[in-house]
Symmetry: C2
Subunit: 291 residues, 2 copies
């Protein structure tokens, strides 16, 4: 990254490494831990990089990883039946459903078929509902990663003014609730907000999960604030494809106290949280007498 005030950049790698090291220790104590099953349906090129990163993190953590690719014409009934069988199979530790899935299958319905105790991605409505009840055991990984990175700044969570830009079900809303549970005052902005800048300019922490390259510029950030960038956007620069976040990292790094880079910020932490969720699932399955 050119023109980036490098000492302001909050990288994901150290946080990822710390989490994976904890997971590895847990797996060392529980060597019979089951397998994480990754399900991709059809040949979806964009999921390959996610699966590769998850597989690599699972290897680093010592968790068996089973990469399954189901035919594109799998029926919703077949898919549910196979997931149901995995729910009942004690050797399956957790189930990851790679998105997108083919259009003839309702993704929410299929996700709901994954039992909450095996829902390592934290996508089941019951898992999300538990977050409202301050039980964040299996929270959506990206939302958890945002919280971990805020924690990594060393800022005190109680009373922290956080502005979340984006109100998606798997990032914005759960992250907002998790931050409230830790004592932050949270405002959730979105495409209908009259003035996002009015909110973001007074925030101690800005979390962005919209999916628009360079949406957040330096004029939207209070000096010294922390900026957590969850966006992943492909843009074309001089005929070359580049991955950038929702934040104009260079200019923002001149103003902010911390800014997470894309790539290399939230992404690595998200995959590590998936592995941590797997150990939580293991504990819960044991507590429930499943294994």
């Amino acid at each position: 990254m050119k023109d980036v005030a490098d000492h302001m950049v909050l990288r994901g790698a150290p946080v990822r490494d710390r989490i994976l090291s904890d997971v590895r220790a847990y797996v060392g104590d529980h060597p019979a831990i089951g397998t994480l099953v990754s399900i991709a349906i059809g040949d979806i090129p964009e999921v390959a990089v996610y699966i590769r990163n998850q597989k690599r993190a699972a290897e680093a953590a010592g968790i068996p990883f089973d990469e399954q690719i189901w035919p594109a014409d799998t029926t919703p009934e077949e898919a549910k039946a196979r997931i149901q069988a995995m729910n009942d199979d004690p050797s399956v530790l957790g189930i990851i459903l790679q998105r997108p899935i083919p259009a003839h299958i309702n993704v929410r319905s299929l996700q709901s078929a994954i039992h909450p105790l095996k829902d390592v991605e934290g996508m089941n409505p019951a898992s999300i509902g538990n977050i409202v009840y301050n039980d964040v055991a299996l929270a959506p990984c990206t939302a958890s990663a945002a919280v971990e990175l805020i924690r990594a700044t060393g800022l005190t969570m109680e009373g922290l003014e956080v502005v979340m830009i984006g109100h998606s079900e798997i990032v914005g809303k759960p992250a907002a609730m998790m931050l409230m549970a830790e004592g932050a005052t949270v405002t959730v902005c979105h495409h209908m907000t009259r003035s996002v800048a009015m909110h973001s300019r007074r925030a101690d922490v800005v979390v962005v999960a919209v999916g628009k390259a360079h949406l957040v510029g330096a004029d939207m950030i209070k000096p010294g604030a922390a900026v957590i960038d969850i966006g992943i956007n492909q843009i074309d620069v001089d005929g070359e494809t580049r991955i950038v976040g929702d934040v104009a990292t260079g200019p923002v790094s001149q103003v902010a106290g911390w800014v997470t880079p894309v790539p290399g910020g939230v992404g690595p932490v998200t995959v590590a949280i998936l592995m941590r969720n797997a150990t939580v699932a293991h504990q819960r399955q044991r507590a429930a007498g499943w294994i």
Copy 2:
């Protein structure tokens, strides 16, 4: 209420009557609708008034209402087994668990025993999780009532700046998510917020659910704003016990565009929403082939 600018008071009765009239019409079309079962455990005097109001609303709506009082020494296992039997009984339309319950029973655990399709109070983690997914079919009644009263002002929900004071699981958080789903920009404040007034003073709508008499004064409200008061507090005035909300209604009514009274604001609407939830539960049970 003395010193209250009466034309600014947003009463619950008309909203309640409109909702109950819709429910009555639905019940007229579905005369075989099942019974709402109210469960109180032990002799808890403070639930009597809630049960009486629910019973009255059920009568007005034409929904059979069965008031059950279980012995105070009911074990958690017995309670769960009885609720389980009601889940399986097609003549039971919905189950209301009156709180508080005796301390030897975990309230969240018992609430989770109520099947989401019979959870007319919208308290099951799965019901709450569905709100995050913008599926507000069975939302917690008080949170829904707050949304209905905001709607009754005629203010446009999209872009509305709402400040929620209080981040409880059954009011603040679900109401915040329901308002986000309708396009509002929502800030959730609570006891750790550095300056609640800083937020509330810029809000188009302030919703208060804390449980502190007169917490919100006129100095915290923007002229013309709507103030929705969810608090119910007993205070002593000259040796007399009075019920008041979290808002200093008199002074606030001099500044606000709308303020809901306590009693007579959110309360009546909440009970009406419970009846509407019962009709939603009926539709869902039919769709699921249960009845």
